[in-house]
C-alpha cells in the first residue's frame, strides 16, 4: 500500500499466486476485504480516471468494480493475476460509464438541454498541470489505444500482461501502442503551446 501510494510507475507487482489478502477473501475471511480494498482501491481509482471516467462517476464506478470483485471472489481460480483481473473489471466499468454518458448526451441533444456545469463540483481532485496535459492528450486516443497506452506507459505493466488484459495479441498491442504514442506526443506538444 505504501509502495502504491508513492506512485512508482510499476504500481502493482505481478504475484505468481493470489496474495494473502485475496487468498483469505477466497476462504471467506471478511476482514481481509478491508486489506484487499486498501491495496487496490488507489490503483483502480487512478486507472479509471486515466481511462477518462469523470469525477462525478468515479465513486460509483469504483464501487461497482469492487462489488464485482468481492462478489466473484469465490469463483476466482487464481489463473489470472489479481491486477489483471482488476484492470479488466475497470475497463469494463469504464466502458459502461461511457455508454451511460453517451445515452445521456443523446437525450440532452434530443431534448436540446444541457445541464449546468455548476451542479457538480470536483473539489477534491486537483487537475493540476501535468495531469491536465496528460488527460488532454489521452482524450485524443481511441478507446483501445488509450487502454493500451495507459496500461503500458503509465501503469508500467509488461506487454504480455497488457495484451492479456485488453484481449489482443502482442503484435496488435505494439501496433496500437505505436499509433497511440504518435498521437500522444503530438497532443502533448500542443498543450505546451496552449496556456
Amino acid at each position: 500500500m505504501v509502495r502504491a501510494a508513492i506512485g512508482s510507475l510499476v504500481e502493482v507487482e505481478a504475484p505468481a499466486s493470489p496474495p494473502p489478502p485475496l487468498l483469505r477473501c477466497v476462504q471467506g475471511d471478511r476482514g481481509a476485504w478491508r486489506a484487499l480494498h486498501r491495496q487496490y482501491y488507489p490503483v483502480a481509482a487512478a486507472f479509471l480516471r486515466k481511462l477518462g471516467v469523470e469525477e462525478r462517476d468515479l465513486e460509483d464506478a469504483c464501487q461497482d468494480v469492487f462489488l464485482q470483485m468481492f462478489r466473484y471472489l469465490g469463483s476466482f481460480r487464481g489463473d489470472a493475476d489479481t491486477s489483471t483481473w482488476l484492470y479488466r473489471l475497470c475497463i469494463t466499468q469504464a466502458r459502461r460509464t461511457r455508454l451511460r454518458h453517451r445515452v445521456a448526451r443523446t437525450l440532452e441533444r434530443v431534448l436540446a438541454f444541457v445541464p449546468r456545469e455548476s451542479l457538480v463540483s470536483s473539489a477534491s481532485f486537483s487537475e493540476s498541470s501535468a495531469q491536465r496535459r496528460i488527460a488532454a492528450a489521452l482524450d485524443r486516443l481511441s478507446e483501445k489505444e488509450r487502454q493500451a497506452f495507459v496500461l503500458y506507459e503509465m501503469e508500467g505493466l509488461p506487454g504480455k500482461q497488457v495484451a492479456e488484459i485488453v484481449g489482443c495479441t502482442e503484435a496488435t498491442l505494439w501496433r496500437r501502442l505505436h499509433e497511440a504514442r504518435q498521437v500522444f506526443r503530438q497532443a502533448l506538444a500542443a498543450t505546451e503551446v496552449d496556456p
Binding site: 506512485g7 478491508r34 493540476s128 501535468a130 503484435a171
Partner: protein
Amino acid sequence: MSEPNELPEAERLTSDPELRDVLRRANLEYRAGLDEAAAFRRVSERLAPDAPRSRPRTHVVTALGLACAAAAGWLVWLQAERVGAPEVLVGPEVSASERALVGPEPARVPSDPETDPHPEPAREATVPSAPIAQDDAIEAPRAAVSGDVLEAARRTADEARARKGRAAPEATKKPLEAGKLAPPPHDREAASRRSPRPATPPRAARASEAGPGVGSIAGKGQLVRSASREDCLELARRGDPRAAERCFDQRAAGSGLGAEMALYEMARLRRDVLRDAVGALAALSAYRERFEEGSLRNEVDLSRVELLAELGRSGDALRESAALLAGSAGRERAAELHLLRGDIFQRDVQDLRAAAAEYAQAEALGGSRGAEASRRLGACLEALGDRAGALAAYRRYAAEPGRPHAAEVSRRIDRLARAGMRPGARP
C-alpha cells in the same frame, strides 16, 4: 523469426527524461483526493445482506423511457428554478445516489488539509512562541470518517434550531472549536458498556407510529422495524438526527455487516451532527465488544483514538495509538497515527519535542501525510527556536508544487530567512 507472442518489449516513453517526469507527476496527481476509507464504507454498505443486490442496470430502453420522463420533469423544475434557487455544491465524496438525496441544500464538504487541493485560504500566520499560540497552531487532522452527507445533516439540524428561535447551545459548539468537549451530564460510555443495545420502543408501538400504508419512514421521529440505512440517513438529512440515531440504534441491534455499519454510522452521527463525542465513543466501544474481528475494526480503532484526543483523554489516546502502531493494522495507518500523536503532544501535553519526534516519524513515511508532517514539524521547531530545522522542514514541504498550504509555508520561509539575516540572530 520469433513468434508474435515473443516480440521484444517496446521501449517505453519513460526512457525519455522529459516525458518520464510529466508521466510520473501525472501518475501522482491521478491519485490525488482519493478517500479509500469512505469508499470502503460505501462498498460495505452495498455488500450488506439487507442492501439491494445491485443498482439498477442501465438498460437503453428503460433508460430512455425514464430519462424522457425525468427530463420533462426537470425542464419544468428548471423553469421554476430560474426564479432563483441556491446552487448545489456537492463534493465528490458524496455518491451519486446520496447527491440526489441531499437536495438543494448547499452541502460544502469541509476543507481537509490532507486531501483537499483547494483548501480554504489559510489564516494569516503570526510568529509563534512556545507553546504555539492557538491562532497559529496547526489544525488538528480531521477524522477520516467525517464529511459527506453528515455535514449536510449537521447544517440542516443547526438551521432547524435557528428557525425555531433557539441558537445551537454554546456548550455544544465551543468545545469542538477548541478541540475538546465538555463532559456530558451522564457517562454514556459506561452505560453502553452495561447495555450495548439500548432499549427500543415496543414493536407494536413502533408499528402504530408508522401507520398503515406508510413507507419505512413515516415522518420525523417515526420509525418502523424495517428501516434501512438509507432511511436512517434520510432522517438525519431531514434535520432529525435524534430519530436517525434511534434508527441506527435499531439497526445495530441486528447482526452482520448491517449492524456493524449501523454502529459505525451512529458514532459518526453522534460526533459530527449531535456533537456528542462521548456517545460516539460509546458506539465505537460497543462495536469493539461485539465485532472483535469486524470489517471496520481498523477504522473504529483509529476513530477511537481521534475521539479520545478530542475529549482531552490524551493519556488514553496516546496509549491506544501506541498499541495500534505496534500491530500490523496500525502500521498501515502509521503516518496518520504519528500525525495524531504529534498533535496530541503539541496541543494537549504541550510537549513540543515529543510532538516534533512524532511528526518526524510521520514525515519519514512519505506521501501526502508525510508532507503535512513536514509542515507541522516546521511549526514545532520554529516554536522551539530551531530556526534552521524549521526552515529545512518548511522547504521540504514546499519542494513539491501544488501543496495545499504552500502560500502560508512560503510566508514562513521568507520570515525565517529574513530573521536569519538580521545581526545577532540565533542559528
